[in-house]
């Protein structure tokens, strides 16, 4: 990534979260990964002023308590958080989910490949893109 701020991962499946961490380690992404299990915990993390604001949010859609789309609606209407790029990482191939997410200005929608090697490739491309792309550094 372009900077050293954390990546916030919202994912209720612990195995998937571990796979993402493993893939990030493998391609040497040094940003700390902050993992929370649902949208509600994601909001709690963001609102806590001691926590460093993430450079990127990776978002699963199907989660208990508050799902990904509900979380997106809240942060995209919040002036403090809406400039953080959100990438949906999901198993949902439903066009409706994809359209809803892009309507809420996600900066990517990647269907998680089940094959680990392909998954690493996806994370690598994601890392290259978000290293290439500038981010608002004044974001605090």
């Amino acid at each position: 990534m372009r900077n050293s701020r954390p990546i916030l991962l919202l994912e209720d499946d612990n195995v998937d979260a571990m796979t993402i961490q493993r893939a990030m380690n493998e391609i040497k992404v040094s940003n700390p990964l902050v993992h929370v299990a649902n949208g509600e915990d994601g909001l709690i993390y963001l609102h806590k002023s001691d926590n460093e604001k993430p450079c990127l949010i990776m978002l699963d859609l199907n989660m208990p308590k508050m799902n990904g789309l509900e979380f997106l609606k809240i942060i995209k209407s919040n002036a403090e958080f809406r400039q953080i790029p959100v990438i949906v990482l999901t198993t949902s191939q439903q066009e409706q989910d994809k359209l809803e997410s892009f309507k809420l200005s996600v900066a990517g929608y990647i269907v998680k490949p089940t094959d680990y090697k392909k998954f690493v490739e996806a994370v690598k491309t994601l890392d290259l893109y978000w290293t290439l792309s500038e981010s608002p550094v004044n974001m605090n």
Binding site: K103, T125, L128, L132, V137
Partner: protein, 147 residues
């Protein structure tokens, strides 16, 4: 075979536009490229229901008539167009431009490289990313190849 959605390139500098088109051709991107030279022309294209809605928009910021930021503001308020991912391709390194455009929900902000090889490398990353998003296609499946 279904028609591929186009890439809409909004760029007032004709040299920059043809460089971007050349890069997309060199990268064997199958999606057609539609070039508009300012925000007004782009908006006219987008608001005509006869035209195919683009897969993504590559947007310059400093343009005559309607600037990139003005165009972004209009698109993000339009329920028919707000879902199109917009990648800013610019020479502007101003923090305010980055803040304003991310605030408006862009999907990337890339500084245009002057050197063609470097520019091609950046376009390759952009293309590979949007292939993973299922929005672009290449002639040959080379998304896993190292450049």
């Amino acid at each position: 075979m279904a028609l591929l959605k186009p890439i809409l390139l909004v760029e007032d500098d004709l040299v920059d536009a043809s460089t971007a088109q050349q890069a997309l051709e060199d990268l064997r991107v199958r999606n057609p490229v539609i070039h508009k030279t300012d925000g007004e022309d782009a908006l006219e294209y987008l608001q005509n229901p006869d035209n195919p809605i683009p897969a993504i928009i590559l947007l310059d910021l400093n343009m005559p008539k309607i600037s990139g930021i003005d165009l972004l503001e209009v698109l993000k308020k339009d329920p028919q167009l707000q879902h199109i991912p917009i990648v800013v391709l610019t020479v502007s390194k101003y923090e305010q431009d980055k803040l304003d455009t991310f605030d408006l929900g862009i999907a990337g902000y890339v500084i245009k490289a002057v050197d063609y090889d470097e520019f091609l490398r950046t376009m390759d990353i952009i293309v590979r990313y949007w292939i993973w998003n299922g929005l672009l296609e290449k002639e040959r499946e080379t998304q896993n190849a190292e450049l």
